[in-house]
Amino acid sequence: MRLGTLARLSWRAMSRSRVRTILSGMGLVIGVLAITITVATGEGARRAVRGSFKAMFGSIDVLFVQPGGPAQRGMSTAADAVTTLTPDDAAAITAQVSGIREVGLAQDASKIVAEANGQNTTTSLWGVTANWRSLHGDSVASGSYFQDTDARVAVLGSGVAASLRASVGQRVRLSGIDFDVVGVLAPNGAGPGGISLDNIVYIPLGTASRRVFNKTSLNLIDVALAKPDAWQETQGAVERVVRARHALAPGQIDDFRVIAPRAMLARMESVDSGLARTLWWVGALGLGLGGVIVAVLAVTAALQRRHEIATCRACGATRRDILLQFWAESVCTATAAAVLGALLGVGVTALGATMMRANLAIDWPVTLGAVLATTLVGVIAGYVPARRAASVDPAIVLREAAP
């Protein structure tokens, strides 16, 4: 029998025994729906984590080198007190470590008073190299970013600009020093914990170290990775270079630390994957039960439709025709249920994402996989009932009393 004929017959049988088809496919619809939604929840959480990393760091494909080793950690001011990280360290990293795209240098201080237009606000002040903007993924809303310079120029985060009602061409007073506003950044939104990522002012590193902070030591070296997948090797190389420069003997603990967002992300995702495994089992169990329902109802149908089967056989259907007809019906029922479940799942996810602002994201490969798995369930669940239907002996059935 041709595939088109099989599909047509399956559709006819399904659409004309609606209650049976709906009952039969219900379990699978719910199974696929559950998988789609749970995976969307997981994928949404993962994307949210990645998104906040991106907002915070500009990219997750970076390494951060900070002064102060494990022994010197603790107070938040520790980094200010430790002066061991220098521009020369950054130069050495650039020169000696491979797999690096770019290196950015920064000094920073929080709780700096900014004044302009008779307004004032407290902000964090960062002295950075000019490549900081691209490293951080910031975009300039008006004006432009500064070059590496000693000039008293500043780029305002959108939050600061709004608080001060300041714009490009105006002058702001930072820590008692006047700066010309050359640019205002586009908003970055909120970071982890709801902190604003826009309450920040950038000035050139040279200006910061000479006129504001009066120090050469750095608070942060930002290393952009050329080969993100090899971040662990790069991290090791950075640590070796800085240890050598700081003349740390073997066994002596670091006086700096290297933070890899990718490592943090991997830790968060491994917590996630335990949950994901559980959900997978729930989904698989759902599909298994759905398959059993399909099989049971298909066996019942094969028994109930013995007279129809016998009539088809009298009209020239081979055992194989009957097998294929019943099998195709189960497979089509399962596939239709899977597609319906996936559509409902996508719909619920979209609705949830917009109405409840939940972190949901459809995982298309998984959704497609769930549909294919469900079709496979139909293939498996439908086989035995179809064999049963095919084994109906028309001679015996047609001798029986009429239905």
């Binding site: 029998m1 006819r12 129809e308 009539t311 056989r313 009298a314 009209c315 259907a317 001798r399 009429a402």
Partner: protein, 218 residues
């Protein structure tokens, strides 16, 4: 032309073996109208099923239109049923979830591309007088209409042999007479008809009557 030579049929179920037919030899010429009569349990239906390639004889030889039937596998027997034989049953045996026209088209599904052109089914519905009911389901049709649809289905592959098992058994006298007239008309057009009945009035209309008793031709 169909020919049975010394055909026997024994059913071996869980109970003791039952002999339904024993040593039946029979020859039906092309275009003949033969009635098989006998009491219930005399082997009429078994004989009809063997003639229709639904059941295989235990022993003996059956030749349908020159084709020896014994030893054929399921696909070959199904092919013969599809192309050479049309069945009409007492209880019509229409598929309940298929419309009249879809029922008539049923054998085409199993014809593997060798089906007649698309107009065959509508023309046959017209021929048997139920064209106006083509889109109706069997439950919406009267008994006479259902049997006419069933006859159209039996004819759609242009078989050489029509096998009718009590075709008027579930119809009132007037409707039964009309259906029988339709079968007569088909026979007049050259179709070989073998009809099973226990109604002497129906049997009387055949060219020839074969009486079965206890599985033997009496």
């Amino acid at each position: 032309m169909i020919e049975l030579q010394h055909v026997s049929k024994t059913y071996t179920g869980r109970a003791a073996p039952v002999t339904a037919l024993s040593d039946v030899s029979l020859r039906v010429e092309t275009g003949e109208f033969v009635a098989i009569v006998g009491a219930s349990g005399s082997g009429k239906s078994t004989l009809l099923q063997i003639l229709g390639c639904l059941d295989a004889p235990t022993t003996g030889r059956y030749v349908l239109d020159g084709t020896p039937v014994q030893g054929l596998d399921d696909a070959e027997l199904s092919h013969l049923r599809n192309r050479r034989v049309g069945f009409v049953f007492q209880s019509f045996n229409l598929l309940p979830r298929a419309t009249a026209i879809e029922n008539v088209e049923l054998p085409l599904l199993y014809a593997n591309g060798a089906a007649p052109d698309a107009s065959a089914a509508p023309l046959l519905l017209e021929r048997v007088g139920v064209a106006h009911r083509a889109r109706h389901y069997p439950a919406e049709l009267s008994g006479g209409e259902q049997q006419r649809v069933a006859i159209a289905r039996a004819l759609v592959m242009s078989p050489s042999l029509l096998l009718a098992d009590e075709p008027t058994g579930n119809l009132d006298a007037a409707t039964g007479a009309q259906v029988l007239q339709l079968i007569h008309d088909l026979n007049d057009d050259g179709l070989t008809v073998v009809l099973v009945t226990h109604d002497p009035a129906v049997a009387a209309q055949a060219d020839r009557r074969i009486t079965l008793a206890n599985g033997r031709i009496a």
